[in-house]
Point group: C2
Chain length 360, copies 2
């Protein structure tokens, strides 16, 4: 067994001790005589797995009792539709567009109502977060939507928008569980788990109970109604049992580590190693305005696309995987999620330093 | 490690050699230095996994070139909506209702058009398949829908309905890959994989290309359009990478076994062991008319609910798991999918024989 440092933006690296536990339990989960993949979702043994996962997540994020935790398939892409469909009252939706993912979400919402883009950083290729302290929130807005950490563009909010009393909905996919958040500030927090938690095919939706309505349009597909999932403990139909199990393991791992405060500390230290290098380098530079830099996704470039490509090839040959930047930003991108050890970031920085010296 | 005989209706037992391979590769897939759960779905190594899975499935089922294979999340429940939404032209849908699952599908379709139930076996608690040779197919029907094997009621079609030229859509979830089928007889075959193939959270949709339309209603959520998945190789967004990987392993296992002809032979032999016992027993009897008996799901009862419960408890204590029947049928149900070895069925029959002798 030889593991690489995997800087993929998602699906992404996972904690080795979690993978080892999963491996040990793969043929026979705790004396049940079967793999978790083989378990009836209606069995007692599986019910305990999903209940523990939810309880541990509630502890980790300090989720208030008036919020439901839902496990839903279909990724963020399905949430882009479910949010406007389920929150629609006036049919007016306010979006802050700070990158590829919030833009996609806004475009999907146009199918179901009027979308106002109340702020955007498109003018500078999404390299910053606009001032969100006093936005033209529509009086009729059913909610205000943000993508709190843009995976492709590598930006993150320093403070939440003033929604002037409207419901805040946040896509936290690429920062989920990376730091403490105050759940009560949001109407909905959701995230695809395949970046910062576990395997793809599962979104976790944390939703204030009063937003789960039964009087939504009757034409909404049953699977796309939040009440379908909320009224059935996320088991209206067979959920992604495996991903819930794996995420549960990661939740326990994070609790044992010291929770999200500790994780945040580690993430800040880790990101500092890379950003300090970028700020001192003559060859590489970060693409995001300093105060909006993501601690999770770090895009950076050289002076040309040719040099970028040469560096990517060199990192790959040296055992650092998935560092190629997204085509809309170019260059390189190091995703340094929770499970990336600081040793991985230090090794990458050492490599880049040496590369710069040798290719100056 | 001690494995039980798991008769769950789904998620369900999987082939042990497949689980062992997955376990061996869990920390480092074929020298990639990472788990399949950690792989970017855009990486070459993962692209090869999904390409091989599709190619092996095409070989197994002999899928013609004018059919697409799609890997979609959300289970059969999401297909219940996607089918009428995407096939809607006249807004008239013909359903044959032979049990809980076709009934659910018909109810969902009512959201999107006019549903005709053109045949049903509801009069006898779905214990048979109605005559489907000359049905009142609506001239405007956009398709005719069947659930080809009803998981709860334990029935299966002996011959496909005469659709009088209309498109046939079949939910094959609980019989998927259990026997050869002639794909060209169908417009769409789909199945949740969590019964006869792999872990929950993935449906496989085999769809004739001309049914993948771009001129569907613009209000259909992007994720629910077949063209979204077809135009992006099932990777418009991150798919359930893990389930696709596991299913790919099962496809290879079936090919090595001798394909679906061989699997069908084994399944017939296996089911005969159980049905022969039920037909000879004085204590137990099958609930389905003989010619419509499923080879996959075998419901049976004693003379009373009390005795049923006692038998279920006794089987569980003896290491046979998940034999309790669904509440709508009662009694017991043995799901004997592809991966249930004949030894498991023989052991169950031996146990039931002995139980009958001792409790006669």
């Amino acid at each position: 067994m030889s593991r690489v440092y995997n800087f993929s933006a998602g699906p992404a690296t996972m904690p080795l001790p979690v993978l080892e536990e999963i491996q040990a339990e793969l043929l026979d989960y705790k004396g049940s005589g079967m793999s978790v993949m083989e378990m009836s979702h209606r069995s007692k043994v599986y019910q305990q797995i999903i209940d523990e996962a939810e309880a541990d997540l509630r502890k980790l994020m300090n989720i208030p009792d008036n919020y439901k935790v839902l496990f839903i398939q279909g990724g963020a892409t399905l949430q882009f539709a479910m949010i406007p469909m389920n929150l629609c009252k006036n049919g007016v939706f306010d979006y802050i567009v700070t990158g590829a993912w919030s833009k996609k979400a806004a475009n999907e919402a146009k199918k179901y109502g009027k979308v106002n883009v109340i702020a955007t950083s498109e003018d500078k290729n999404y390299s910053y977060i606009p001032d969100v302290s006093d936005l033209p929130i529509d009086d009729d807005a059913d909610y205000v939507y943000i993508c709190e950490n843009e995976t492709i563009h590598g930006t993150t909010y320093q403070s939440l928008p003033n929604t002037k009393g409207k419901i805040l909905v946040a896509d936290q996919s690429s920062m989920f569980l990376s730091k403490p958040v105050n759940v009560s500030d949001y109407g909905i927090i959701y995230g695809g788990v395949q970046k910062n938690v576990g395997p793809a095919g599962l979104s976790i939706v944390i939703i204030r109970e009063d937003l789960i309505r039964e009087d939504v349009a009757s034409t909404i597909p049953t699977y796309l109604r939040y009440d379908t999932h909320a009224n059935n403990g996320s088991m209206y139909n067979t959920p992604n049992c495996w991903a819930i199990y794996v995420c549960g393991k990661v939740f326990k791992y994070l609790l044992n580590l010291g929770g999200l405060e500790k994780m945040d500390e580690i993430n800040k230290e880790k990101a500092k190693v890379l950003y300090d290098f970028l700020d001192s380098s003559k060859m590489f530079k970060g693409t995001v305005e300093k105060q909006y830099r993501s601690l999770m996704n770090v895009p950076f470039v050289t002076e040309s696309a040719e040099k970028d490509a040469a560096v990517v090839a060199a990192t790959k040959a040296a055992g650092f995987d998935n560092l190629k930047g997204h085509k809309s930003v170019g260059g390189l991108r190091a995703s340094i999620y929770n499970a990336m050890p600081i040793e991985g970031v230090k090794a990458l920085v050492d490599f880049l330093k040496k590369y710069e010296e040798e290719n100056a």
